[in-house]
């Protein structure tokens, strides 16, 4: 989740109180974010994905202020009327918009920085890399209303931010950095979204703003556009942006959005009211709090609440996008109470423990193999087809392959254990021989059914030394089967990984369950091995039944 650095001085100024670094760390971690570090100048936090309202420095300061009791209550923000109306056509790729006018901004360094930071973070997170929500911030005084939000042809022109020459929207996608990065979001649509005033296009969401409406140090008033594919997300992102600006003393003004069939006014900073049963709070947390105490705790978290019989009517600020269910509010009660203030209580849930049958059987086999004088190894289930097939001199067969591997070494799941163990031998040529290894592990085979695959638990043994031969591995295999009291039969096996006439298949009730033999020198060459290797591999699931 996003890691964000904050200006410590600015943060403490916004909070309105000084804290020692350790105090600050503890307060922030009690609220939720993880503190990566606090230096002389910076506070670096790793955020959780739900508290988007804390991403901006102003929202973070607000939460700290409320939590430590400096202003423990819901913050109300005034929204005046700008008188502005945006006519919104139905734009196919980004149907929902929210706009706001913000007056009286003093664009000192800290504000510009925080405005840029929050935009970037919101784009990356809740905006899903601008696909779901994108934000544009403009110098309001450079815009000549009326403003329309329309779908336009890709041949329409704009002077994109940071450029001096006019270009078509198509060219913006081809030539500008942002165009290349985010063009795919709108590429497939015939008409592209644009905010247009009486002069020209001034915003081309979700790609870029116009140079004309660029925000500079002289900017006094802002026009903010938020567009997206999810109405709720658009409205809430706008709430977060404007309430952050209001925390800096800016004046908020609303904009009317006139769609074809309805009219909305944004930003919508109206609180939601969610009913929370007091029993739910106390049952979930194991507490017995009175309504009054619950309200005190909720205020610490920036809510307001009304005690109403066995319920609380909780007033949720508009910037809290994460509240879906009363349980989300219960968590905030717990946070205000302090996680480390809870008593730890043994619920005395009576139940009987039980090992998984196959795991238990695997444990037995492992200790048997250690008794055979073998070293246990654990290798990755993840592997690649070269190791699994090519180097073993066998033809490639179907495997579970991933679409997004992170390295050539790990592209598919193993279908047999032997290559995993031979790879270990090949990495230990400098180590004393004999080398005797085993693994009890899973392979994953393509199969029909729910997950189109099945995991199979297997045992594999490899032994390598100068006189390792068929008779030795036969003895291991037979001793193993005899220890389990299993009736089996053997059949000579032709297998390209083994020397002809020196490999056997193991059958139980006519079913092939494993094999053993001397590894073919060609395979040894492929693995760069110079010592004879004998091997034994068997499915364990079949032996258990």
């Amino acid at each position: 989740m996003p890691t964000i650095a904050y200006d410590k001085k600015d943060l403490l100024k916004l909070v309105g109180k000084e804290f020692k670094d350790e105090e600050l760390r503890e307060i922030i971690e009690s609220i939720k974010p993880s503190v990566e570090k606090i230096t002389e100048k910076e506070v670096v936090l790793e955020h959780c994905a739900d508290r988007i309202d804390l991403f901006g420095i102003e929202g973070l300061a607000r939460a700290i202020r409320q939590y430590v009791g400096l202003k423990p209550r819901l913050t109300k923000y005034k929204v005046g009327k700008s008188g502005l109306t945006v006519l919104a056509d139905s734009v196919p790729v980004r149907p929902y918009i929210g706009c706001a006018v913000v007056k009286g901004v003093r664009l000192e360094d800290s504000l510009i920085k925080s405005l840029m930071n929050i935009q970037e973070v919101l784009h990356e997170t809740v905006g899903r890399k601008r696909r779901k929500v994108a934000i544009g911030v403009h110098d309001f005084d450079r815009i000549k209303p009326p403003i329309r939000y329309v779908g336009v042809s890709r041949e329409e022109k704009i002077v994109p931010l940071g450029h001096s020459e006019e270009m078509s929207l198509k060219e913006v996608l081809e030539k500008t950095e942002k165009g290349k990065e985010y063009g795919a979001i709108i590429q497939s649509s015939r008409l592209w979204p644009a905010f247009v005033d009486t002069i020209s296009i001034f915003s081309f969401p979700p790609i870029i703003n116009s140079e004309r409406t660029r925000v500079t140090e002289k900017t006094k008033n802002l026009f903010i556009d938020v567009t997206g594919t999810d109405r709720l997300a658009v409205i809430q992102v706008l709430s977060i942006l404007v309430t952050n600006l209001a925390e800096r003393g800016c004046k908020l003004e609303s904009v009317r959005i006139k769609y074809k069939k309805k009219v909305e006014t944004t930003p919508d900073l109206n609180e939601r009211v969610i009913e929370v049963s007091k029993d739910l709070v106390n049952n979930l947390l194991g507490l017995s709090l009175e309504g009054k105490e619950m309200i005190r705790l909720l205020r610490k978290m920036g809510y307001e609440a009304i005690d109403y019989k066995d319920k609380l009517e909780v007033i949720v600020p508009s910037y809290r996008l994460d509240i879906l269910h009363p349980v989300d509010i219960v968590e905030d009660v717990a946070i205000a109470y302090g996680y480390n203030n809870f008593e730890l209580v043994n619920p005395r849930v009576e139940s009987i423990g039980k090992l998984d049958e196959l795991e238990k059987f695997s444990d037995r086999i492992r200790s048997l193999m250690v008794g055979f004088g073998l070293q246990e190894v654990i290798r990755h289930v993840f592997t690649n087809q070269e190791d699994q097939f090519d180097k073993m001199e066998i033809r490639r067969s179907d495997v579970i392959e991933v679409a997004n591997p992170v390295s050539q070494e790990y592209t598919c799941l193993r279908v047999w254990l032997l290559p995993s163990l031979i790879k270990v031998l090949s990495a230990n040529k400098h180590v004393e021989y004999p080398q005797k290894l085993f693994e009890v592990g899973d392979v994953v085979l393509p199969a029909e059914g729910e997950t189109m695959s099945k995991s199979v638990r297997k045992l594999c043994v490899v032994i390598s030394h100068s006189t390792a031969g068929f008779a030795e591995i036969k003895s291991v295999a037979e001793k193993f089967l005899a220890s389990l009291g299993i009736r089996y039969s053997l059949r000579m096996l032709e297998h390209p990984s083994f020397i002809d006439g020196r490999a056997c298949q193991i059958l139980i009730k006519g079913k092939e369950v494993g094999y053993f033999g001397e590894i073919h020198p060609k395979v040894l060459e492929n693995w760069n091995l110079e010592m004879p290797v004998i091997a034994f591999e068997i499915e364990l699931e079949n032996l258990l039944s």
Binding site: S367, V370, Q435
Partner: protein, 413 residues
Amino acid sequence: MAMFVLTEEGRKYLKKGLPERRLVELLKKVGRITLKEAEKQVENFDIALQWAKKKGLVELKFNELVLVREPESFLEEEALRRVEGGEEIEEEVLKILLQRNLVEKVVKGDVDKLIGKEVTNLTPELIKTGIWKKVKFKPYSTDTPGQKLSFGKPHFYKQFIDEVREKLIGMGFVEVRGPLVELNFWNCDALFLPSDHPSRSIHEVFFLKKPETGKVLDKELWERIRKTHENGWITGSSGWGFWDPELAKRLILRSHGTALSARTLSRLKKEDIPFKMFSIAKCFRPDVIDAKHHIEFEQCEGIVVGEGLNFKHLLWYLKEIASCAGVEKVRFKPSYFPFTEPSVELQGYINGWVELGGAGIFRPEVTLPLGVEVSVLAWGIGLGRLALVRAGLNDIRDLYTDKLEILSKKFLV
């Protein structure tokens, strides 16, 4: 040069007397006796009878044994005494003793040349010939290097995992296993992860190349999950307002053990509750592979299902689970997981506070569609780092190491 030593049988007769002597003694006492009765009273009766007859000492009369002649002495017994004493005996008696397998020939080779000397190895010949009494053994010192041998040994990571399993079984948890290839449906949708959640991207989850999709078998559950995502269904939630059924069908590699908890809950019957399960679940995530991260790792996943379970109980379990993994000092921090509320990060003190895992109480949006109406406490703890601490290692890649030097050194006690 050859010499002779007593066999085990020879030593026995030297101590107890020859079997035929014991038969003679018996007849002297009882006069006559049936074969059946004699067999009961004389050890090695067959041998006794054979030799007593051969020597003309006894006879069978009317089915009874009678003593014919009482010998003055038994040659063999005297000979056995002499062989034991290292003395030589006559050729003829020796023949009998060899025939009766009471003595055996030992090839002394050069053993007697060792008499009075210092020897390195104690050999079977030295022991059998008794010459060991006449040699000196060369002493070793504490600096003597040990011989290089290959030994069998369990893997230290498995040992650590087994410790944790043992303790959880002791606490009454049932061990569960599940598929490594998983449906997105179980890994994400059943856990109320919104379809567009960043943790579902190709940067966080391995998707299968072929086949791309699996089959969700429970159509009713499928509908309940769809409604929960779209509008909250009957859970009291607003839901996410959208759901992508195609994404839910995609096959992936299990990215967290919680997928298994969702599967288990869906199968849980009312009579199974209260219920506690755990799994040592192998999980996969596309990550940069370095000393701290790998794309394949183990989580200890657990849930407790029961009426009236609450946050205080969850915290108690977390402390106990940490203790199972060898961490005694813990604390709790708020956190976020889309499937739990409240959510908590478990931190343990290991030369400083470190994150051990995540936990919480499953949201109603998770439990109700799965048919569970009571509280479910849940957690997932990464085992890799704890195992490293326990084994005194610090590179996560060493858990699946191919270095035999590491494996042969590490053993947890």
